[in-house]
Symmetry: C2
Subunit: 414 residues, 2 copies
């Protein structure tokens, strides 16, 4: 027997929520229920001030001197080190650079170079497309001797054989929220002599991670989702210490040089993780990222995870309680340890339903072809909002509001 | 006979300068003489307001909706098109993306793919190091069948033979200011069946460029120097229309996909220049760049160039007039049509002299091993400042102020 959920019960949970005070540290638009922090995280209030300082003081007043005076030159390392604490990396294993896609290319190429003679990059068909695209582009660039092999999640482990150079997976699937057991898959890969490249886009800041303990080889991740780093925030990457002195990162830019300002004619890789840097980083965006990371570090990851699991369970229960029989199917795993910080529903009319929800101020994501994605960001999301979100969904379905033509218009970004 | 320059004469030139009003559009710190706009351009006042809007409204209030509502999704194309007007590209030949280093990798790899069987990338030993490094990294990734061949600037044209796949040059040299004749070198390359990749880091916004008319194949450039786009502003790239439908950019990210939000499992390149995009761009930094580009577009490039040439000539004349016999040698070409918008001096004690100048509020750049670099940004630099800069240099030399130990300390960034 399940107890019926009520709005009042959720209000009580908000009152008792030990993370509740973090909500005030973010700017959240009035009347909006934001279940899309896994696409673009909300703005920490301190980010506004920090960016203003970078622009009006560091750029405008300090000009070129700010590279030294305000430590711009160390910013990628400094923020990278902080992210390392969030993902269970050892010291000096993480750095901020470029975009997730570019970092994936760097890490994948580096990993392949460490496994000469092996020709397979193993991934899954439902991986985030840019990861598959980047692998395709790398394979084509290398002349086609490699192959991208795709196996369904349940068959990944058995597909790891002696041909596999690299297992390239997104830890938490962007569309379903399904989460891999990183330690288990990595162990299996290593047993077959393969390496792993993990994409942490939907994991960093969302679920507890222990990259070093899991034996992960390489990883990349995103700054603008759960880390609340701002739109298009620079990404990060991870290289296990044991690979750092032998790894060849193919994008050998001056920021990854052992002595960038010596202007030597030949490339000499920096020691450690710094060799994964390439060009000059976008400092305004980079500075905003640090604010998001700092705020995340103030919270306990186990408290965040406990709340995230609870929110996902409540949301799923509300879907079953409030909109049963209306064509929704929960496509995320129901077991918490196999799921990230989101719950996804499939529905034949997912697109207009999501547009209709957004028009009502409940923001989730549509993911082609038929998925409504709802992300939970326990740092700033309350329990009562889950009730109100599902109540809006119920209203939309019962009133047929989602059938209005306006909600069928295509947008550039979905 | 040369007429002796006086400060009063330069003041008169400032009064008569038709570009003078642009100076008020920038924030310039009191008492600072900034001859380093070719390292990091000054801040347009409007950039401060624009960035605040992007952070406090577009991010904080609009959240994910801003991709459509504020046109984030088109920003790389829009700013790229504006830069295209500054560099003489045809419509649809330019786009903003990544860093200059990453773009160079993309363009170089794309060019090599168009010239199978040819094994040489031709450049010069004094090219900006990151360009040489990126070529090295690409060659290593491709398995070593290619070779980076370096020829002195005067010997580049005769070094272009049937083995050369790509001529990769920086149009204006970062250290000497020496400028290539783009049309002539490109014509020579094409005659030998080779392609060109031009680095416009010290050219865009500094000298008139006619990429389409010059027949250039590929180019990359920097947003944070003469374009005043902010620290680490995203870079741009150019692909001649005739190559766009055949070119394979090796970093095949979702932003370069024909339909990014269809989440198709296989990569399908966008038509036109958009296939050169990779991952999500850093939107705060990107937005600041547009302000700098817009401001540059308000001025006439021929007026800017005329003033730049005049400033360089006056600066060189002042060096000869005021600090003759003190160990300085002008290492930039004296003929305007062979020089960008800078004048460089060599001096055995270049490092402490530059540190001493900076301490006096005259900011130029040291470039290893022995170069003092002075950049002229006619959009906001006055003539009288040239006098004051050289007067400071003279004072430092005559007073031996540069010999103070403090000026010998190494900084992280030089």
């Amino acid at each position: 027997m399940t107890v019926k959920l009520t709005r009042a019960a959720l209000e009580t949970m908000d009152e008792r929520d030990e993370l509740r005070t973090f909500r005030d540290r973010f700017h959240l638009p009035d009347g909006l229920i934001y279940l899309d922090g896994n696409s673009l995280g909300a703005m920490p209030k301190a980010a506004s001030e920090r960016v203003r300082h970078v622009v009006d003081v560091e750029w405008a007043q300090g000009l070129i001197r700010s590279w030294n005076q305000y430590g711009w030159i160390d910013l990628q390392q400094r923020i990278g080190a902080k992210i390392g604490r969030l993902i269970g990396a050892d010291e000096g294993e993480t750095i901020v650079a470029d975009s997730t896609s570019v970092n994936l290319f760097k890490m994948l190429a580096a990993a392949l170079k460490l496994r000469p003679g092996r020709r397979v990059i193993l991934s899954e068909p439902a991986n985030f497309p840019t990861d598959l695209y980047m692998a395709e582009g790398l394979i084509a660039l290398l002349g086609g001797d490699h192959e991208l092999v795709l196996a369904e999640p349940d068959e990944i482990e058995s597909a790891i054989d002696e041909d596999v150079a690299v297992v390239m997976l997104t830890h938490v699937n962007y569309r379903t929220g399904r989460m891999y057991d990183m330690a288990k898959v990595t162990e299996r890969a290593h047993r077959a002599g393969a390496l792993t490249v993990w994409d942490l886009a939907h994991s960093a800041g969302a679920v507890p991670l222990h990259l070093a303990a899991a034996g992960a080889d390489f990883a990349v991740g995103c700054g603008y989702k759960y880390l609340n780093g701002g739109p298009g925030a620079p990404a990060f990457l991870y290289v296990a210490r044991r690979h750092q002195d032998t790894v060849a990162v193919p994008l050998t830019g001056w920021f990854g040089h052992a002595d960038p300002f010596a202007f030597e004619p030949s490339y000499r890789p920096a020691s450690g993780i710094a060799r994964a840097l390439v060009g000059t980083p976008p400092l305004i965006s980079l500075s905003a990222l640090e604010v998001g990371v700092d705020l995340m570090l103030e919270a306990s990851m186990s408290a965040l995870r406990a709340k995230s699991v609870r929110q996902a369970e409540i949301f799923a229960a509300l879907i079953e309680q409030e909109v049963a029989g209306l064509g929704f199917e929960i496509v995320s795993p129901r077991e918490a340890d196999r799921r990230g910080s989101q719950v996804c529903l499939s529905h034949a009319s997912a697109w207009p339903i999501m547009q209709s929800l957004i028009a009502r101020g409940v923001i989730g994501d549509f993911r082609a072809p038929d998925v409504l994605r709802f992300g939970f960001t326990p740092l700033y999301l309350g329990y009562t909002e889950l009730w109100d979100a599902v109540a809006a969904l119920r209203h939309i379905m019962e009133s047929d509001e989602w059938k209005q033509p306006a909600h069928h218009a295509r947008l550039k970004v979905t």
